[in-house]
């Protein structure tokens, strides 16, 4: 069946884009979870919706509009929340409704059918164009390079931000860079999972990996593997049973997390039992 799949250029593109997005999201995901930035990912996705809808009304591309708004929010968040002047969730709670409102008004003003936007919201692998694949590839490359180049800085600032600041890490710049990377992945993911469900791809792989792995390298590898595995299974099922790819991938991710929690509980129970029997 996979061989039949790969005969279609649009499915090859979708598969490649899905795997690249899963790699990028898997790399960022443990940091998003440990930095408690899940809401930021959600907020960036909603800001992207506002930009996409506005650009659709103005005759521009949804990717361009989504990228612009997500990037603007990332930069705004980085500056506004520097040194805790305002909490990140408050800042998102203030900015995102504005971006969403722009999107809703733009949709209301647009009288024609908005199929593009539906795919943008919930994912449509049929809509992955060669240009989209290039965009996803560029974002993934940027995430991989940044995660290698600034690995120690990201780890140190995630562990304890104030200590990292005292130790000379450029905390604010690293945080701004991280938000920009998340914004890039949000927009890159939109045709695969859609912006409504993108937080599943940004949060679940890292959260699941953190249940088991005891080293940062292990968490990264597990997070990428969970992301890629879930995207593969989700895309395959969405084609076979003809359902929106984003929803199926998100469900697969949630199921993976649930299995992880059950396994963790079973392993903890066994460890507890072993300790009691030797104690």
């Amino acid at each position: 069946m996979l061989a039949e799949w790969l005969e279609f250029a649009f499915l090859r593109r979708a598969l490649a884009a899905g795997l690249l997005v899963a790699l990028a999201a898997g790399l960022l995901s443990p940091f998003i979870v440990l930095r408690r930035m899940a809401f930021a990912g959600h907020g960036l996705a909603h800001a992207a919706f506002g930009g996409a809808a506005l650009f659709l009304l103005l005759g521009g591309g949804v990717v361009a509009g989504g990228s612009l708004f997500a990037l603007l929010l990332a930069v705004l968040l980085a500056f506004w929340t520097r040194r805790g002047r305002i909490s990140e969730d408050s800042a998102i709670g203030i900015i995102v409704p504005g971006a969403m409102a722009i999107g809703v008004i733009a949709l209301a003003l647009r009288k024609t059918y908005t199929q593009d936007l539906f795919g943008f919201l919930f994912g449509n692998i049929l809509s992955v164009l060669p240009g989209d694949l290039a965009y996803v590839g560029a974002v993934t490359a940027a995430v991989v390079v940044a995660m290698i180049a600034f690995s120690r800085g990201f780890v140190s600032t995630t562990f304890h931000e104030e200590l990292a600041r005292v130790e000379g890490w450029p905390v604010d710049r690293l945080r701004g860079l991280f938000l920009v990377l998340v914004a890039g992945v949000v927009v890159a993911s939109m045709k695969i999972v859609g912006i409504v469900l993108v937080s599943a791809l940004l949060v679940v792989p890292g959260a699941t990996a953190l249940l088991f792995a005891r080293s940062f390298a292990g968490v990264r590898i597990a997070s990428i593997a969970i992301g890629i595995g879930s995207v593969l299974v989700g895309m395959f099922l969405s084609v076979v049973i003809d359902l929106p790819s984003g929803a199926v991938i998100a469900l697969v991710l949630v199921v993976a997390y649930a299995i992880g929690r059950i396994l963790e509980a079973v392993l903890a129970g066994r460890a507890g039992g072993a300790a009691r029997s030797t104690g």
Partner: protein, 236 residues
Amino acid sequence: MPNHAAIEARGLRIARGGGTILEIEELAVAPGRIVGILGPNGGGKTTLLRVLVGLEPIDEGSVRVLGEPPGKSRAVGYLPQAPTFDPRFPARVREVVTLGIRDRGNGGKVDRILRALGLLDLAAKPAGLLSGGQKQRMFLARALVREPRLLLLDEPTLGVDANTLDSFLHLVLEIREERELTVVIVTHDFSVVTEHADQVACLAGKLNWFGSPSDLDEGRLTEAFGVHNLFLRHRH
């Protein structure tokens, strides 16, 4: 080495929420000294340390740390008050300790500090599984491993048993014999100050007194803190 005080503050005023929370007319700490900072809760002890590491902005006055503005010198080791981190953080003790330094390959230096703090056997343990006191020791090790010229410790005695504290202070004294190291310790433990400090600063919203611990008597403390019998209650 440049000839300047390890810490210099002049006309310092820190205001928060419309009121002044800390005022220091003048404070100069010579290099190589151990300074204990005493004072009641809310007296500005933690604020002073946060100012010195550049985490709190200054409203008035000037501060120099190792001859530079706060937050600029990389030769500062800092232990925050009751530091916390996400227990899921996937790093082992040795990784956490070496996070703050560039030359993590210098295992001998790291081992010496881990050994002195009783952490060598725990070096491969996930940091999130440590007890409260072990975590405090891990953060102390991280402050020391940077080979600082100035060590700023906010309540290092919290959750740490007497033996560990003794080992830590001996390590600090050993290091001080090898190279110049200035130490500032915020503590409620009078014995740490009277036994180890060269100088004592009493902070209660402002710097009320700065001098030798041998000159610190009940009358001075009462005057500095506005609380009776504080010294006697804590001394034993």
